[in-house]
């Protein structure tokens, strides 16, 4: 029913779809609540807190209630429910409680719960309000290029609604003497969108200052200023956030799910998480997962802790060592490569290879083995259920917490994939949902080990890992017994080739038998004519993750590309279009010739073209995610130079955002080292890009045993030969 949940003066306003438009419903009676519990459940601390809060005007009332403090708790604990008058003041009250506690008690005397929930999500959780719309949402995209945004030049704005007919472009209208304001207002009136997808949230304030009301009522509200944060090991940028009455704002530059999926993916998770679109859209994957977890915890009457205080269990070094081993990894025979100069060592290239993947291995382990914060290392069992680690897993409760969180996602994804298979033609909505769910599923395992994950637990992370290793080892034994040789394996995948000395059971049959035994589907993912694994980079202890291969014809119907690439430059986000194309070109030569020299010949041609200045600079732009402010860089990196240049041009980029630039003179430092892509530079630093190209060539040649030095020697030799032939 709901399009967005706004608030005015601390009172929630629910905007519900009503015929063609939307109507506001003011919920003046709503009071948000947070909870406090005391160490060792000592109620006198709660009584003390109740007294302290009695005179606080923000507090509407306090009530002694009992709730579960943890997923594993067997009994409900005494808690103090603290009702507030206004939505949006919970964090403030929590801070004040912490301060009172600090003055009079030992730290950690009180634990607070349900503190950091987004206001709309909180409202939906508390009232049972359904945040899903009951009609197809009408969306309007508003986009403005970054440079125009920086200059406040709105004449370049583009508007595109999902109800648009053949509209005149904004530019055409402006030329026909309409102002930007008139164009935007007329479009809003004609389309009456429910959702505004903006290229940057700053557009809201920019248009607001020009007197344009983007909402269904006048005005806009800034929810938060821009900030930088560190989350899940990555620096993120949280741009300023805005709300307008009656319409949900989705900031395209700040929506992971929209980036990876589409509105259909967002809407799927609005329903699954029970979180309003505007808030869900700006969540990280961890945020989406946390929302689903909090909702599930609520069903179990478990409060969401503000600070995770659960600690790791004390472990022996043996257990710690086993637990820390990471995912399964079977090394192919490439470790010898590199020792022998200039002689191809074909050990890393394998013919006739099948790839077998466990489908959604980690979430399936979580569900199948009931791995969950409340089940692992339970108090009631002394069984050694987790392989290698000997942790117990409680089987006395029905439906594990994590299983309940992830199970529906696994089932939905299977169902959506089934429907997609039944469809002819494109299925963008299904694709988007499948993709969105995938991102949450692939993140669920790592998130368990994330230190700030509200319901995460390190032993759960370790147990999942241990089960996963066991699954892969079991699978390996089976395929080997069936006449296949494992050439490579990592985390949830195995690559196998027929053992020439033995007879093989058909691989799909083997995979089926393994699936039946383990209870998790082992899919026959693909068949390659050949596959090449790059050796590990010497300094890195990481398992092999870089490879490329040519699909067999029987695998081609699913693939438009002839090759599968993983981890090599052409797949990396930071790689320029030029290097990507060049590497793919080298791959086709590799495929045809399978020896290093012809690949090097092609490389030499590419280098020649690069050095002649013939490459378009648009193909040389590097996209980089900014990790810190330019002034905090210790070293003069290219990223820093790009930020300095951006700053000079007035398009400041904050950590977490991206910047696109071309290296024009790598020997310089500061803003002259680069040009931003939108400046359209005419020259580039050929040496710098030659180095990048060489790296890409190295990846292609590494499986053949050639390293950078071999390539250089070959190139030098050729140059000399070429030169002498002209003498």
């Amino acid at each position: 029913m709901t399009i967005t949940i706004d608030r005015r003066d601390g009172t929630p306003i629910r905007w519900v779809a009503d015929g063609a438009g939307a109507e506001p419903i003011v919920d003046a009676d709503y009071q948000p609540a947070l909870y406090a519990a005391a160490r060792e459940d000592r109620t006198r601390h709660l009584e003390w807190l109740a007294d302290e809060l009695a005179a606080d005007p923000k507090v509407a009332g306090v009530t002694a209630e009992r709730h579960y403090r943890t997923l594993a708790a067997e009994e409900r604990s005494p808690t103090l429910r603290i009702d507030l008058d206004r939505l949006g003041e919970v964090r403030q009250v929590a801070r004040e409680i912490r301060e009172r506690e600090r003055r009079e008690h030992a730290p950690g005397t009180l634990s607070l719960y349900d503190v950091d929930l987004d206001p709309g999500f909180r409202y939906c959780l508390d009232t049972g309000c359904d945040p899903t719309p009951n009609r197809d949402l009408r969306t309007l995209s508003l986009s403005l290029p970054p440079a125009a945004l920086a200059e406040g030049d709105l004449s370049n704005i583009t508007l595109e609604g999902n109800r648009s007919e053949d509209e005149k472009s904004v530019r055409e209208r402006i030329e026909a003497d309409e102002t930007v304001r008139e164009v935007v207002e007329r479009t809003l009136a004609e389309q009456d969108p429910d959702v505004l997808i903006v290229s940057s949230a700053e557009l809201v304030s920019l248009l607001g200052k020009r007197g344009v009301d983007l909402g269904r009522r006048p005005g806009y509200r800034q929810l938060a200023g821009e900030s930088t944060y560190v989350s899940y090991g990555q620096v993120g940028h949280s741009p300023a956030r805005y709300a307008v009455p009656g319409r949900a704002i989705v900031d395209r530059s700040n929506s992971f799910l929209l980036d990876k999926s589409s509105m259909a993916g967002l809407e799927y998770f609005v329903e699954r998480a029970g979180k309003p679109l505007q808030e869900l859209a700006r969540d990280s994957i961890g945020g989406v997962l946390t929302a689903i977890e909090i909702r599930e915890a609520r069903k179990r009457d478990v409060l969401a802790p503000a600070q995770k205080r659960q600690t790791e269990r004390w472990k022996s070094l043996e257990t710690l060592h086993s637990a820390d081993r990471g995912g399964f990894s079977f090394q192919p025979e490439t470790d010898n490569v590199g020792g022998e100069r200039s002689s191809a060592t074909p050990g890393a290239v394998h013919e006739d290879v099948h790839e077998l993947d466990f489908a959604s291995l980690y979430p399936n382990i979580i569900r199948e083995h009931r791995v969950s914060p409340e089940t692992v290392c339970c108090d009631c069992h002394d069984t050694a259920d987790v392989p290698e680690l000997g942790y117990s897993i409680c089987d006395s409760v029905e439906g594990s917490f994590l299983g309940s969180v992830l199970g529906p996602l696994l089932d939905d994804r299977s169902e959506l994939k089934r429907r997609r298979r039944a469809c002819d033609g494109p299925t963008p909505e299904l694709d988007a949902k499948i993709e969105a769910i995938k991102w949450v599923l692939v993140s669920c395992f790592g998130y368990q080990g994330y230190r700030h994950a509200k319901f995460g637990r390190i032993e759960v992370h370790e147990a999942i890992n241990a089960f996963a290793r066991e699954c892969l080892l079991t699978a390996k034994e089976h395929v080997e017994a069936a006449g296949w040789r494992v050439v490579h394996g990592i985390v949830d995948s195995l690559w196998v080739t027929p053992d020439p000395d033995r007879e093989q059971t058909p691989i799909r049959e083997v995979a089926g038998a393994i699936s039946d035994e383990i209870g998790i589907t082992l899919e026959h993912e693909s068949h390659f004519d050949w596959i090449a694994f790059c050796p590990r980079k010497r300094s890195s202890g990481a398992a092999l993750m870089r490879y490329f291969g040519r699909w067999n014809d029987d695998a081609m119907e699913d693939n438009t590309d002839r090759y599968k690439l993983r981890g090599i430059e052409a797949r990396q986000r930071s790689t320029t279009a030029f290097v990507e194309r060049a590497q793919r070109d080298l791959l086709t030569v590799f495929d045809r010739e399978r020896t290093p020299q012809p690949v090097c010949e092609r490389l030499a041609r590419q280098l020649g073209r690069l050095r002649s200045g013939a490459v378009a600079t648009a193909d040389l732009a590097i996209t980089q995610r900014v990790s810190k402010h330019p002034e905090t860089y210790n070293q003069a990196t290219r990223g820093k130079a790009a930020l300095e240049r951006a700053s000079e041009l007035g398009v400041d980029r904050s950590p977490g955002q991206s910047v696109r630039y071309v290296i024009v003179d790598d020997d310089r430092s500061g803003p002259e080292r680069v040009r931003l892509a939108f400046e359209g530079p005419e020259t580039y630093d050929a040496d710098f890009y030659a180095d990048r190209l060489l790296r890409a060539a190295e990846s292609v040649l590494a499986p053949l045993g050639w390293d950078r030095e071999d390539i250089r020697q070959w190139l030098d030799g050729t140059r000399n030969t070429t030169l002498s032939s002209f003498e």
Binding site: R39, T311, L317, E318
Partner: protein, 214 residues
């Protein structure tokens, strides 16, 4: 090799290992080799690398060692608070590397971090006295603070002749200033429960379940 290092006495010893990162592992290995009984490594910043610890605590030496890793200041504080229930008069060593590190992170508000670090230092000190056990700590950034709270300091340096550890004998300049409540053993016993030596000796590896939170 034992004679190379000073004996770890009861009380809190701050090891200044900025110039010799391996010193912690050497000292722990050396100490464990000469003792029997449980030892606890309360980790921060992933200093507890099993392979590295074993390299310096060979054979069965490290078999009595138990490790728990904190990843946030709150977890670190809870682990410290749980120590009194865990250690006993049989405990031979408590190690807490990078003691201040997690409190300095952004996720803990400054004032709260300050109070928690103070409490951490006080609990370790009380604990060391109560069970007459060495507590070995290192610091990541605020080393002066940790040094000031410790009973003694060992300075480790890598020299061409090998690791050198200097430990001037002192113990009188213990600094207790900013800590709000003057601690006594009964206070902590009341707050945290007793260190039950007999129980801990019989079942030193029971699962920790007393920590509220998630």
């Amino acid at each position: 090799m034992g004679a190379q290092f000073p004996t770890l006495d009861a009380g809190v010893t701050f090891l200044d290992d900025r110039d010799a990162p391996a010193a912690l592992y050497r000292l722990v290995g050396d100490h464990l080799a000469g003792t029997e009984g449980p030892a606890y490594w309360l980790d921060a910043r992933n200093a507890a690398v099993p392979g590295v610890i074993r390299r310096h605590a060979v054979g069965r030496t490290a078999a009595t060692l138990r490790v728990a890793r904190a990843f946030t200041g709150y977890q670190h504080y809870e682990l410290v608070r749980g120590l009194p229930q865990r250690v006993s008069p049989r405990t031979t060593l408590v190690v807490a590397p990078n003691l201040d590190a997690l409190y300095a992170e952004d996720d803990v508000p400054d004032q709260e971090a300050e109070t928690m670090l103070e409490a951490t230092l006080a609990i370790l000190k009380e604990l060391a006295d109560a069970v007459d056990c060495p507590v070995l700590v290192t610091a990541e950034s605020d080393s002066e603070r940790v040094r000031a709270a410790a009973d003694r300091t060992l300075d480790a340096t890598e020299t061409r002749a090998g690791l050198r550890v200097d430990g001037p004998a002192f113990g009188t300049d213990v600094y207790w200033g900013p800590w709000g409540y003057q601690t006594t053993i009964p206070y902590w016993v009341e707050l945290l429960g007793t260190a039950d030596g007999a129980r801990a000796a019989e079942e030193p590896l029971i699962a920790e379940t007393a920590i509220p939170g998630v």
